[in-house]
Symmetry: C3
Subunit: 300 residues, 3 copies
């Protein structure tokens, strides 16, 4: 990669993406063999929001490379509480670490922060904005399961607020994929995202039910519909059940359908599905390690 | 050990226990010599409840073996807050780590969680249930101080709710020990625990005062009586003072009496006792490191 | 150093200080070259108060030396919540670690704690008391920028409550420095600190405005004036603006003026100053790493 900071998946070309996924595949093949890659390198974790899997998999990735983390810890116990600006905090932290992974609730924060530091800054999620390492692990998972070209993917759930979805949809325009978006009317893709996808020449269709498109899908990417997005409980109840899946739902699906989910799930995917070969969401989460190893390896 | 998960001390035979304690003794003799045992191995810490000594000693143990931890951090800052189930969380985490140490407030949680993962799961305390690594370090301490056979041990304090006590008492039935239980009437051993001990052929006696049995003891294991167990303050005041010890209490004790406590203590043991050779509770806490090193060494 | 514990900067002679700063300069010259200094050594972090830079730079320092940390974590999640005394907690922790860094809100806590442990204890700030590693990194920064002898330093802001200031002022009496203290009347140096400085033969002058002394200064050390120190907002507004600096303020300053701040800042220093060569506060924060490496290296 030619990039010093990883802020958005949009900055990555098809070649960039493939370079990361190829490197990830090498690490994935022998995860214990990379301990001598970056001995003593320190990755600072600056997480202004709760996170389990992103934080733990970044930590695992750098440690599998022979490095270590220094963790700012919960914001409540940091100098952020004393009123320090993000620009000041990252400038202090860059003196301690060889790279910084930043999660922050404010859209655009990673871009802003990156302008103040010389060490590589990795956006680990900036509010409703971008989450590029999640996108790369999603792409890795899709490639492993179904390939990235000539596939049909369905993305279902909250398409309005889900940053994961917007980022993935955009990245997929680098490949020959047919994208189907399935959501309740009130949680459709934002107009600007749809426009953006069309500009990139994406093949995009929208649906208000999974039934009509499920048989055609190679990959179904499920996301959660958050109750709090609905003004009243009744409206939520009306739609929620149509965007969850169970074993019965899958009867019309292809046997090889790959089911993904960024996790955590609540009840979008019935646990009975966990035992099927189609269920790929835990493997998807695990792929966060080789993919983040690849990214760190290229930047350090 | 033939066990992939360490869920309860009850799963451990006398041979298992002795194998752990022997290995622990080796590590204890030269704690700095084990750095090349498990380089790069990662232990995930999933602590759903506060803990100082268990968490820090697990962390110390894996690091003394050349490995490292990845820490889920406080539950408040994890995806548990977003409603993720324990089964999902451990399945995600097993993709990052070579073993998992789990503390959870719900009895039975470790057994449940262990059914979902392939990496070794170590129960670091499941509510009122089991805490097997605490039991093993208690046994190690007793063996170092007094031997495990042909000893008389008194266990005092809250015998009704203390998981530490139940687990230790059961484990001691593997050895030739005489067990005396000293508590207020309202905090006696639960009937099922007593029954269980009798089934195992334990020599058990119960007392409502330390005085009558103290002179016979080789080991006195003190636990805290929690004020909140009593419906009113008066009742607490009536009994509490009888189950605390100070220098005067020890006048009738054997000079070689070993005093233990799982810590933290509040006022069960007068600080003046800390300076006596009998006081073994800090050493007991420190023994958590070689014992957990031994367990991890056998599982990794 | 001949000291097993680092409790206060007052315990350090000019020779001690110079030995630390010289060692720090060596590490600073090649921060990646020290990984083989202390492999496997463990530093326990016992932080009873929030901290970003002190905690992260201790963590960075020990890791750059090839060691690692074990972190007690936020007090809310530790056994401190169960009523454990500081003396008990540090006696437990010393069994896990090769050294302990302690931050505690109570003045004198580090001295007390150090009496209970055999491993080196480093005071990382005890309330309104001492913070010796901060003082050493301040001295390191001053020496790098202006030298420690024959300089004129101004210390501005909250001189009444700022432990950083008292500790630095005292340490500077080991060198040939002229000290000027600039503050509002209500936040002047406490009488006992001033007395103490005079006893040490310090050349000290006090000012209620920066203007009169700024042109003479080689170093200006700015600290924050906390709003909550003032009984009413009006009084705060009256004085606050006079103890903040911006580019205009600096017109009468020497071109080589070194501007320091212990951070975090709120609005004492205008961000426009960050781009000037005078601005040394981020470098000052970064110096925490080589200085703490030096201290740890000497103690381990």
């Amino acid at each position: 990669m030619r990039h010093d900071h990883i802020i958005t998946a949009k900055q990555l070309s098809r070649e960039d993406i493939e370079a990361v996924l190829d490197r990830a595949a090498e690490f994935d093949a022998d995860p214990g063999a990379a301990l001598d890659r970056h001995p003593g390198k320190l990755l600072a974790l600056a997480f202004y929001e709760p996170s389990t899997r992103t934080k733990m998999s970044f930590e695992t990735a750098i440690k599998r490379l022979g490095g270590d983390v220094i963790d700012m810890g919960p914001v409540e116990y940091s100098s952020v509480k004393k009123g320090e600006s993000l620009a000041d905090t990252v400038r202090v932290i860059e003196g301690y670490a060889d790279a910084i992974a930043l999660r922050h609730p404010m859209e655009g924060s990673a871009t802003m922060a990156s302008q103040f530091v010389d060490v590589p800054l990795l956006n680990a999620g900036d509010g409703a904005g971008q989450h590029p390492t999640q996108t790369l692990l999603d792409l890795y998972t899709i490639r492993e399961q179904a390939g990235l070209d000539d596939i049909t993917i369905g993305i279902m759930g909250d398409l309005k607020y889900g940053r994961t979805v917007h980022s993935l949809a955009h990245a997929l325009t680098n490949f020959d994929t047919r994208q189907h978006f399935i959501s309740p009317e009130s949680l459709k893709l934002p107009r600007n995202v749809r426009y953006d996808l069309h500009e990139e020449g994406a093949q995009v269709r929208e649906h208000d039910s999974l039934d009509e498109i499920l048989p055609e899908l190679d990959v179904l990417y499920v996301t959660r519909i958050q109750r709090e997005r609905f003004p009243d409980e009744n409206e939520y109840q009306k739609v929620a059940g149509q965007f969850t899946i169970d074993v019965e739902t899958l009867e019309s699906a292809d046997d090889d359908l790959t089911i993904m989910h960024p996790l955590p799930r609540v009840d979008e995917i019935d646990p009975a599905i966990d035992d099927l070969d189609n269920a790929t969401y835990f493997e998807q989460a695990h792929n966060g390690v080789p993919v983040r190893m690849a990214i760190l390896d290229m930047l350090l």
